[in-house]
Symmetry: C2
Subunit: 341 residues, 2 copies
């Protein structure tokens, strides 16, 4: 079989040229596990940090040896557990950029093919969607009529967060994204009330217009931070008293030097009576099925939209990943290995 590995260790933001497609043995089926033929590979921003050994203490992959780690949806071709049958569709966070992966039973969630297109389990029903749901519904606890702000709003997490906030009662949903194409997508496809383009002059004034001036009784009730401490500070400066903020990601800084600081001003937090919640989606994996049940209904009635930036074939993965690292992707990055799946 074929897989994608690093040519050499990376110390900076990975580029397409850092990867090689190589041949490898198809993995053996572990006791109590399965081998799955990979149908879809998820490309996610955290993988950029992980390739440098800097994500949540997890090991970096060995160059020239191992498939790049990542979430996958696959079809089981061999099983040594009674819980999963050949032909079952499964999702795993512990897959990789390869044609076949070996998975323990505990690493798989079986998927209902009738519920949604299988690749949706990497996006709005997958880890990005679960992340958004956890932050919006379990931490920020959005309430009816509130004003919700999220950045990286065209991304898989940000786009889901705004739609979920709306579905759970938010009155005004505002996004921040870079460039007219992304902002257009967020407003048209995701149905945000407004998406502010941070690459335009005067965007801070536009943001204040969109959320309302806190000095005049307006402002953000809850925000979801994906980008940087600077952006979180912007949210706080536009916030109502007692704002709730979810700190989810610091994408702008994933490739900083070691020991990077992402400073939030404690004085501003006190003055705003802010409540901040650090979010790590791992903590919510036990509730994945609960989320999927809720979100599948939204998908069916059109209140959650799938937008993918899709590449076909393993060879196309490195270039799409470079696009993701540069923030040039539009929607959830998925590599499809089987055009018929």
């Amino acid at each position: 079989m074929r897989l994608v590995a690093l040519k050499a260790p990376v110390t900076d933001k990975p580029r397409a040229d850092d990867f090689a497609v190589i041949n490898a043995d198809r993995p053996a089926c572990p006791d109590g596990g399965v081998v799955a033929r990979v149908l879809f590979i998820s490309l996610d921003p955290y993988v950029g940090s992980r390739l440098r050994g800097r994500h949540m203490g997890e090991p970096a992959p060995a160059p020239l040896d191992e498939a790049i780690p990542g979430a996958i949806v696959g079809e089981v071709v061999e099983s040594r557990t009674p819980a999963i049958k050949e032909g079952d569709a499964v999702h795993s966070m512990n897959g990789g950029w390869a044609e076949f992966v070996a998975l323990g039973e505990a690493d798989c969630r079986r998927l209902d093919r009738a519920l949604a297109p299988l690749s949706a389990h990497l996006g709005v029903l997958g880890m990005p969607g679960l992340t958004a749901w956890a932050g919006v519904s379990q931490l920020a606890k959005i309430e009816d009529g509130e004003t919700f702000l999220v950045d990286a709003a065209a991304g898989a997490v940000g786009g889901s967060a705004g739609q979920i906030a709306r579905n759970l009662g938010a009155g005004t949903v505002v996004g921040v994204a870079g460039g007219p194409e992304k902002c257009g997508l967020v407003e048209r496809e995701y149905g945000f009330d407004r998406c502010v383009d941070y690459k335009r002059d005067g965007w801070r004034d536009a943001l204040r217009d969109a959320v309302g001036d806190p000095a005049a009784g307006g402002g953000v009730d809850a925000f979801f931070e994906n980008v940087s401490a600077d952006m979180a500070t912007t949210a706080l400066l536009n916030a109502k008293p007692c704002v709730r903020g979810v700190l989810c990601g610091l994408v702008a800084n994933y490739h900083d030097a070691d020991q990077a600081q992402h400073p939030l001003n404690a004085g501003l937090l006190i003055g705003k009576r802010a409540q901040l919640f650090g979010l790590v989606v791992y903590d919510f994996y036990p509730r994945w099925d609960e989320y999927v049940a809720e979100a599948a209904a939204w998908l069916r009635d059109g209140r959650l939209t799938i937008v993918e930036d899709r590449a076909e074939g393993l060879d196309a993965a490195p270039a799409l990943f470079e696009k993701l690292m540069d923030g040039r992707n539009i929607g959830k990055c998925v590599v499809a290995l089987d055009p018929d799946a």
Copy 2:
């Protein structure tokens, strides 16, 4: 009558010499208000910021004109409201360093003289106690058996926070304070399990010993921050996952230059799944009577201890305030104007 005013505007940490005791007219009784003879004046750290016009947007007092602002307990000598009678004991946050103060009815809380010594309404039953209660019980929501950490533990807020945490079920209560005298007070009088002296070499190791190593299943469940973003970072580094932290004060930085930053690392907040709560006690003034009812029972059965650093007479206020500004006070700073009260 006599009052204490600033000699000139202050731009740095106020010293005793910055104040003068001057004669002034006794204030007239406002419609719907009272005049109170001041029995006790509360000296609080926030007044240092307020004197420089830098506290929560409130105006600085005019030099040579107005009494230094502050909380007081007084006895009503004249009333033009049916809700308050001559002879009533009242507390007000809007008093001042003066022998008599004029107060609107809405600025007073009537006190029950049988409940506790009157000066306690400036300390454990006063704004510092209410602040501690709000953070521990309403924001951090301490639970049975948890490990609680608070700094400035010998101060009026910190000492109350640790005792209240214990009363509400905390299993281990750890303080941080400066010097052996303060640490001894915290352990002996306030009954903390341990108070770590941050002026000693190796105090960070001592703190980790006291709260337990997070890598070995120990660590802080909830903390109450009074001092600085640096100390909050220390708490976070010694915290269990999902730690709750109250951001209450930044005493170490009250006298910084304008635009001072108090940086908390957003990456650390995410990694720890921290929940942070900015606390401004004003928001809890409507619940003061509820707090006093709960805390008076603790006072009666000895589970809340009154420790005062007391000065006698208006002339002694400036020196005690300097001591407070330098952090040399032990317990709640109170100026007693009537030795028989």
